[in-house]
Symmetry: C4
Subunit: 378 residues, 4 copies
């Protein structure tokens, strides 16, 4: 039996090919950021209120027009069929059952249209979002957007932290470069009129820039969130270029190693956008207390990535369903223990940073006055 999110990982590790375990668990280079994400939550402290709760806690959110029954999204993760035969179909059914927003990955092994159909076949009104890598060939990108729109997706999540593919050294050591026979990125099939069975590779381009975001804003009415903005200056640019939200993510530590934990960056990113757009955070969320900490600091919701893959591997739809129930129960429990009747009661004063924990000190200022953090310079 799985009593914690981590239990799903342990169970999945017993079932999966170690090469695939490495693909899921691994990150870029020395995996410093992978570890930092979880560690940041453990260091942050909660300071609960007492004697002011209510019998039932309201966990509903509405995010950019999408309603959900819990503030935990399924962040985009690739290749669900790698760990479970039904792949994304199992995942989306579990998400729908839990009333959680799923962000379908552009690199899904089931086409977004079929994922959406499976979601609609449940009696849930949970929403599906679509994660997009803008392709240098804009015609192809437009075709992808059209597929997401046709599938009924209600938001686009554009990944901007991948000018090149992150260096997963575990995969290199394992020689894991291709999907097993029979699996493919179904959204990348036959993107041009008249094609039959032509599967494209996802192109990652360092030449993408803010004009591509402007262009995208012009070809779709859907809300657009940017995923992977970490620098406050880029957060300000995102607002200026009309982004409707940010998914504050370091790609689970899979792109650039040694970037800070997203939780560490949250206060600065919130300050940079100054309330104009919502921030969703992923990276290291494993506990109900983690969700509460991110929301108390100001995030509108959080996302989970690897846990979904572990739960899917462990028990398919049923596994993911139990994972989401577990997180909902922990979240509800934490709200009760914090004296909160609902998410709106999660205020920043409930959170405490011990002095020895990483805090986002002032960035090193450009110019001759070089300094390291807050330390004065002789």
């Amino acid at each position: 039996m799985q009593h914690t999110v981590h239990d799903f990982e342990a169970a999945a590790r017993d079932k999966l090919d170690p090469v695939h375990v490495d693909f899921i668990a691994g990150g870029a280079r020395d995996e410093i950021t992978v570890r930092a994400n979880e560690a940041a939550f453990g260091r942050l402290q909660l300071l609960p209120r007492v004697l002011r709760g209510s019998a039932v806690r309201d966990l509903d959110i509405t995010l950019l027009g999408s309603r959900a029954r819990m503030p935990v999204l399924l962040s985009p993760t690739a290749f669900h069929k790698l760990v479970y035969p039904e792949g994304e179909l199992a995942t989306v059914r579990a998400a729908a059952a839990a009333g959680a927003i799923m962000i379908a990955s552009m690199a899904s092994t089931v086409a977004v249209g079929e994922i959406a159909d499976a979601a609609r076949a449940t009696d849930s009104d949970a929403q599906l979002w679509f994660q997009l890598y803008i392709q240098p060939d804009l015609e192809i990108t437009e075709a992808l957007v059209r597929r997401a729109v046709d599938a009924g997706c209600t938001a686009l999540v554009v990944t901007v932290d991948s000018p090149v593919l992150g260096a997963g050294e575990r995969n290199r050591r394992n020689g894991f470069h291709d999907l097993p026979p029979g699996l493919r990125c179904e959204n990348l099939v036959d993107l041009r009129d008249g094609e039959r069975g032509h599967v494209r590779q996802i192109a990652m381009s360092p030449e993408l820039n803010w004009e591509h975001i402007d262009w995208l804003r012009g070809v779709t009415e859907l809300p657009v969130l940017l995923k992977g903005v970490l620098h406050p200056e880029d957060a300000r640019l995102a607002v200026r270029h009309g982004a409707d939200g940010l998914l504050l993510s370091n790609h689970g530590g899979r792109q650039l190693d040694t970037v800070p934990a997203t939780l560490e960056l949250l206060p600065e990113i919130l300050a940079a956008v100054a309330g104009r757009i919502p921030i969703v955070l992923d990276g290291g969320v494993r506990r109900g207390t983690d969700v509460v900490k991110a929301l108390a600091l100001g995030a509108s919701a959080v996302g989970i990535g690897r846990p979904v893959m572990w739960a899917l591997a462990q028990g398919g739809e049923e596994g993911v369903r139990r994972l989401l129930e577990l997180l909902r129960d922990e979240l509800d429990d934490t709200l009760a223990l914090c004296g909160a009747s609902g998410l709106a009661d999660l205020t920043p004063d409930l959170v405490r940073v011990p002095a020895w924990a990483p805090v986002p000190g002032p960035a090193v200022a450009p110019g001759s006055d070089h300094r390291f953090g807050g330390g004065a310079v002789v």
Copy 2:
């Protein structure tokens, strides 16, 4: 032979069912707070005075009218018969012998009246206090208070951190949900007139609020302490609602995980109540130096929880008696080494926090100026 408080735990672990060991040792979720409680004492440093001691140290205290021969209370712990046949009777006899205040748990396996009788049968004038979970059915609560009053308890300690039961994942993994046959919460038996052998479950209700405290103030003359207030704002509310004292406790890390160590919170809670009511602290007290640190910072007394259970398991009344003697000896030794003639000499300048230790940085302020601890935000 037990030379330290920790030795009692080691001895008890040899005797007890591992499931019961887990019940005692465990805490909520990842047990981060369980570990934080003890670690906080280890990090705090003592800066002793020299050449000003006296031959004998005075360890007596008077707390809310109750006199005691040492500033170490027995914090409320449940189910003493689980670890030793005589249960709370053995505990209270040892407490009385040591002149220590015992706070009988509402979840005791001996009725509070019998505990009080056992205490009175010794020739000690040590006092008994009663820990109370306010029950949503106020008639039941009133019956419980009456039992405590009738037993001669001289204070009530109302637990306010338990709107729901803490998530002890060890217990869940062990399937430990019920007391063994023959044991029951004796205070919960026959609380309504005319009942015969009817045992109630202790109800934990998230709907309790400050009006319940006001109500309780109206039905008893006893001093009322609140146990589990951690947020300074709630400490101020406690004063405003007439609480006579606070037992600054995080429930031994058994309720909400990742709350700070109580020792870390002590300065803020003291500042919040501004000397109007006494603060007793529990959580992680294992050494005479720990007692001195808490008192030097401003606590009026400390409580111990798990150590009592380990000592009871190890040696019954004799075990708890030796535990309390050991703590008294260590405390006396520490006072001597600090150049103190008594508890009044324990001033804050005897305590030192290394810069790398957790300090209660400013809570994150509400509003748009989000910040993480003391770090400036770009």
Copy 3:
């Protein structure tokens, strides 16, 4: 072969009764301070100067009139015969050969007069000091002082941190309470006229106070250093009561556990005495770099304790001689690498504290404005 101070410990452990190893290596309670002493040196950083050295470094010091060829004293340690048959005679011959000041312990297993004779039998002009526990029976104390004076000791080091005996739990577990047959505290023999073979116990009294220091000042012309002052307020009192120097020591972590490393306290103690008296520091000195760090911060010299015992156990006089040569070589090497021609070149700017290292934050101020270190309080 021993290449480092630590190597002597390893060699000694192979030779000694584990009970005696524990006696030497152990400290009070959890031995937090024992570990802190060494750790503090490792954290402090050196920032060397270049291109300004000289062919030879001058390591001589004159301390309260006593000349020495190196700024490393042998701090008082008890019972040298416990680890080597010749006991303190071997130690003092090695110290004399190295030109190092030895502080003979009042609890030596050779009488101070014989130690002095052995020193004089070498052709060294190295000085002998005497460590004193003031005995409540002042006549006895005076007899002890007279013995030290008669032996030619040139300073008294009065231990003030021992109102009670430190709690060495290793010794308690080992049942090590008495010297083996044939060994005794030779300075405590026949202290009163006409006695024959009467050995006193060393009395530790919590009733000692500053008047005893005043009294001592009246019965001897020797310079008096106080050993064990840790609180800056007591350092100021020491100056006021005419102390000629301080041996800043936490008794190697053997008295009160959780006191700071002496190195951490050095800046504050220096500030408190404001240059009026010299400060010698012991506790954790194991490397030439350690000596340089303490001296660069402002100490006049350092002392070593356990290393002498290990070296004595390993190789008697020859062992201690090689230990002192090793330290002298390391010290000389460090001076050269710091661009120093002698001890006078060791200025505070050569030392650097990383921000994460313990720093002596402001003590908690008395009064209502309780605070924990530098953290602001809500």
Copy 4:
């Protein structure tokens, strides 16, 4: 296959005599600085920009007139024939192939002239620099400089942190004091007219001072960098004495133990030279992210030492070539992930120091106001 710089070390350890492994891997005393160098990079965080990259990154630099195709220099390391028969010839060919500046060690096992010939034999325009220990016999020093000039070296790197040889305790334990038969310091052969096969020992002299630097400035037109300046005051003196650049190095932790990581010192050293001369940093560079961090903070380039030895041991010229390709690829990857088109885009705002990381606090000021880092003193 080697996927990381560390993999080369692992492979080399399998091949080399453990005594030689210790010679390469080891450092001075407790090797605290050895570990600090690498750890400092791991703690520093990157805060990448997005949506502003370009298809190709420009990694070229021009440093004191020397052009290179990557900002990674081969720092001087001794005795390449110890680990690979061709020695420095293999190394320089690999460096030339990569377009990287190699700093030939004065203690090379191939004469600098032959190293230069081997470099010229490739079709690369990569430059060779020469590392110099100024010898007390200035005639000898001048002969060495002439050899470097004759060989076509385009800069001199004068090591100033070695008034004495660093204490490599591993070498002492291993009894490793001499090169194996057949190997010698070829630059030290026949330095005086008419000598035949006379090999000098490299003299390390504590008597070197700034006048030697002034003298050297007078005997050569080559740019002179000082290697081993760590104190900001010495950095200012270096500028004043006409140094053309600094190689900010702690000798890989091989000279004075417990000096800070060079990365920690970089901001202060940059502030001290105030842009007047370039700073190259070595010590702990193992990743492309490390290079980016140093350059973003303001270094003009970085150097690598041990990795070259490991790669040479592992695979000779081919090994070093692959090492440099690996670092170039990682660097290029990191630039792309930081949204940089070239090295000029690496600005200090890309770097972040967590609050718990070592920061160069103010040095302890001389005078009576002793303080430890930033901590206030009571």
